[in-house]
């Protein structure tokens, strides 16, 4: 692809300078083909002086040939010159004829002109007469018009009289108007008085409004106060609410207390129940103890009974024993009596004393028995008595206990009843207090509600009052405003009516004035008409003057035409002079051609030298295969130079040819003066010229052959070295590649393109990925691979420098860099 690009570029570069030369060479060749047929001998050593001695004979022979050819050419030229002379004569004849004809034409034209002029004069005279007649008619018409106008004038005078009358009327009207104006003014004054009254009323009403506003303000103050009261009441309310909240809290506390007291009551009742239970138990114990007492009393009674029984027994026994004692004592007395009675008798007394002792023993015994029983009885009796006493003691104790417990119970009952009573009393008091507080609360709530209701009512009342007051005020204000507006409207109506009157009067005035103006304008119009008529008269007179002027102008034109004819004659003479001058110039150009011929010789020499150089290069190229590429490079460079030289020489040649051709053309003119000698020289020169051109063509051919050979050599070299493309082609994209070379290398280019593409890819990859310092080195490679222009490369460098440095601004692409991006390029594949 690069190669293609390069090729394209190279071709463009190669083509660019050539078109001139390419166009010129064929021309020279064609001329050569025409003229070089008869070119033959001619000895010309002068131009050969500087060439080498060895080639002299050959050159001499060549020169002879050249000279022959040139001579032949010269003869041709002489023939041509003769032909041209004949032509010239013919042309001169034609010119004379033309001049004659033109002279004739001029005379004819002159005659024609004079005829036309006479005709014109006649026509003019006729037209003037006609116009005079017309003007006479017109004048008569105008006179008639004048008469009419005079009549009109009279009418106008009459009209002006009437106008004066109208003016008088107008004055009267104005007087009337003034009177009316005075009346209107009077009315206006009245209205103003009315207005002032209305304004006074207004002021009064405004004062009223102010007073009402003051009242309003008072009422607003009142309302403010009321609002303040309201606020206070609300504050009180809030305080009451707070108190209520406190009372509710205390109620709650009291209720809590009550509940606590009730709980205590319950506890106390429970205690009492327990106590009663204890009492019952104690009573039961008492009853049981009474029962026991009864039992003990029963036992005691039984014991008493036993005791009494024992006593009675004892008593019985005592009585018995007493009785016994008594009987025994009687028996003892009987026995003692008997013993006394038997004393005398001693047996009978001893028996009796024996019996008495037995009886006494027996009595002791009984007595003992008795004492024993008595002690026993006493003992039992004491025991019983102790028992009874014990029982009695116990009874007494029990009774004491009972009594104590009874007392205790009574005391406890009393205490508990007292406590209960107290508690109940406290409860009742608390309840009462609660009720009282609730009542108080209710009262306060009622108070609050009443207060709120009162407040609301008051507020409502106040708001009502306010609203009413406001409404009243608003009504008042509205009324006042309405009154004011009514008054104002009345005033305005009055004003408008007054204005209307005034405007009407003014309109009347204006209409009157307009009438006046109309009349004046009519007068002016009439006067203007008069003036216009006068102007028309004057303009018609001027028209007649202009016609006379036009006549004079036609005369002047005639004179101008005569002058033009004279000018044309002088121009013809000038042309003939110019022709002679140009002939002289031709002679000078011949001399220049001689000089140029010398230059051309030098160029030819150069060409020969270059040819020799080429030959030496050729031999060198054949010599060494290794150094062939280098040689090729040099040779191509030299070739380039040669080509450039060739181009230059060709251009010179072409310029020379141009000059020669120009000279050739002018030769026809100069033939008379220079004669056949100069023509011969020119022919010689032209021959040499053509020969040199031929030589150049030959050299070109040899150069091409050399290039082809070089290409072949390269090819063979590459084949030997297994080289694929020719790298130098890429390196020197500016050098125009030899056409044959590019043709032969086409097959290899595809490969190299691929490699180049891969290489390009790699380089671009590296360029993008490398550090800036490295990338900076790669710029050149990238720009070579992508065929960047110098500006594009510089842009790249600047951008990289910008990236590497801390400061500076981003460089903008300038010149041809940007357009080159959009320039169509060869596609990559």
């Amino acid at each position: 692809m690069f190669t293609k690009l390069k090729k394209k570029l190279a071709e463009e570069a190669a083509i660019a300078p050539r078109p001139g030369g390419a166009a010129r060479i064929p021309r020279s060749i064609s001329k050569e083909s025409i003229t070089s047929v008869g070119a033959d001998s001619g000895d010309d050593f002068a131009s050969d002086g500087s060439s080498s001695r060895d080639d002299l004979p050959s050159q001499i022979s060549r020169r002879n040939d050249q000279i022959r050819r040139l001579e032949a050419k010269l003869s041709d030229y002489t023939e041509q010159v003769r032909n041209l002379q004949r032509m010239k004569e013919k042309l001169e004849l034609a010119l004379e004829k033309h001049q004659d004809s033109s002279m004739r034409k001029l005379q004819e034209q002159n005659e024609m002109y004079q005829a036309s002029r006479a005709k014109m004069a006649e026509e003019c005279a006729l037209s003037i007469e006609k116009k005079d007649q017309e003007w006479l008619v017109k004048l008569s018409n105008l006179e008639e018009e004048k008469k009419k106008l005079s009549e009109q004038l009279e009418d106008m005078k009459q009209k002006s009289l009437s106008l004066f009358q109208k003016r008088e009327d107008l004055d009267e009207l104005e007087v009337f108007q003034q009177q009316e104006m005075a009346k209107i003014k009077h009315m206006l004054l009245k209205k103003e008085q009315l207005l002032s009254k209305a304004e006074k009323d207004l002021e009064v009403k405004q004062r009223e409004a102010e007073t009402s506003q003051a009242e309003l303000q008072d009422s607003q103050r009142l309302s403010d106060k009321l609002q303040e009261d309201l606020q206070q009441l609300q504050e009180e309310n809030s305080k009451l609410a707070e108190q209520r909240a406190a009372l509710v809290a205390s109620q709650e506390g009291a209720e809590k207390k009550i509940t606590e007291l009730e709980q205590r009551l319950q506890e106390l009742q429970d205690f009492i129940q327990r106590l009663s239970l204890d009492l019952q138990k104690a009573q039961s114990a008492a009853s049981s103890s009474e029962k026991r007492l009864n039992e003990i009393q029963d036992e005691y009674e039984t014991l008493k009974l036993q005791h009494e029984q024992l006593k009675s027994k004892m008593a019985v026994e005592g009585q018995e024993k007493g009785a016994l004692i008594i009987r025994l004592q009687e028996k003892v007395r009987s026995l003692e009596k008997t013993l006394e009675g038997t004393f005398s008798g001693e047996e009978g007394l001893q028996q009796l004393l024996k019996e008495k002792a037995a009886l006494e023993v027996r009595l002791d015994e009984t007595r003992q028995q008795l004492s024993e029983t008595r002690t026993l009885h006493a003992e039992t009796r004491t025991q019983m008595e102790s028992q009874t006493s014990k029982l009695n003691n116990r009874l007494q104790e029990m009774q004491d206990l009972l009594q104590q417990k009874d007392t205790e119970l009574n005391q406890f009952k009393d205490e508990s009843s007292l406590k209960i009573g107290n508690l109940e009393q406290t409860l009742q008091t608390i309840r009462e207090q609660l009720q009282a507080r609730e009542e108080e609360l209710k009262q306060r709530e009622e108070q609050i509600t009443t207060c709120q209701s009162e407040l609301k009512s008051e507020r409502d009342k106040l708001t009502h009052q306010l609203h009413s007051v406001r409404q009243q005020h608003a009504d008042k204000v509205e009324r006042l405003e309405a009154q004011v507006s009514a008054l104002e409207s009345a005033r305005e109506i009055d004003r408008t009516s007054a204005q209307h009157n005034i405007s009407q009067l003014e309109q009347e005035n204006a209409s009157l004035q307009e009438r006046n103006k109309d009349l004046e304008t009519a007068l002016k119009k009439l006067e203007a008409d008069q003036e216009k008529m006068k102007e028309e008269l004057s303009s018609r007179e001027t028209v007649s003057v202009e016609i006379a002027k036009a006549l004079e102008e036609t005369r002047r034109q005639k004179e101008d035409l005569q002058q033009q004819v004279a000018d044309l004659m002088s121009a013809i003479t000038q042309n003939t002079q110019e022709m002679s001058l140009k002939k002289e110039e031709l002679a000078r150009k011949d001399e220049e051609a001689a000089l140029l011929k010398g230059d051309y010789d030098a160029v030819v020499l150069k060409m020969q030298q270059l040819q020799s150089d080429l030959e030496t290069y050729k031999t060198r190229a054949a010599q060494s295969e290794e150094s062939a590429e280098k040689h090729v490079r040099d040779v191509t460079e030299q070739l380039q130079e040669q080509r450039e030289a060739l181009l230059a020489s060709e251009s010179q040649v072409s310029s020379l040819q141009d000059e020669v051709s120009t000279l050739h053309e002018r030769l026809h003119g100069t033939h008379e003066h220079n004669g056949e000698v100069a023509a011969g020289d020119i022919a010689l020169l032209q021959k040499e010229n053509r020969e040199m051109e031929q030589q150049i063509a030959e050299k070109n051919k040899t150069i091409k052959q050399l290039q082809q050979r070089m290409a072949e050599l390269k090819k063979t070299l590459q084949k030997e070295l297994r080289l694929k493309p020719d790298p130098e082609e890429k390196l020197n994209p500016a050098d125009p590649p030899a056409p044959s070379l590019t043709v032969t290398n086409n097959a290899d280019l595809n490969d190299s393109r691929e490699i180049n593409f891969e290489y390009l890819k790699h380089v671009v990859l590296k360029f993008m990925s490398a550090r800036e310092a490295e990338a900076f080195h790669l710029i050149k490679a990238v720009s070579v691979l992508l065929n960047f222009s110098v500006e594009e490369e510089n842009l790249l460098k600047e951008t990289l420098e910008y990236k590497m440095s801390w400061f500076g601004s981003k460089p903008a692409p300038k010149g041809t860099v940007r357009p080159s991006i959009s320039k169509p390029r060869m596609p990559w594949t």
Binding site: E626, S627, E629, K630, L721, R722, L723, K724, P725, P727, E728, K730, L731, D751, S752, I755, N756, E758, Y759, H762, V763, K766, A770, A773, E774, H777, L778, K780, A781, V784, L785
Partner: protein
Amino acid sequence: MYQLNLSDILLFSAAIGFNVETVTYKNLKFQVWDLGGQTSIRPYWRCYYSNTDAVIYVVDSCDRDRIGISKSELVAMLEEEELKKAILVVFANKQDMEQAMTPTEVANSLGLPALKDRKWQIFKTSATKGTGLDEAMEWLVESLKSRQ
């Protein structure tokens, strides 16, 4: 054939293209451009000539056929104006091969003795074994330092 502008590396890549590496050797910082030696790439060598202090020219000592091309390439390269002051180091590579030319042979076939106005030295190296590189780098560092 490989050419290195400055190198101690022997990571010679056969890839189409080149490698850039910055290597510090004996307090000298080398920016090494490993340019490929392929025929198609050779034309692009000249893109990298600017600001070059030294050229390391690596030659295949075994390739007797192409040593001539190597010579012509080297001569063409050394003619460049931008490399006028560059030191030349030639690596006679592949010395581990049996048929390898000796460094003197290589130097002669490259026409090194004919070089005037240029500091040059040849070293035998083996890229696969990594021998001969240190001496070469030593010499290069010394000659660069002495030039400064």
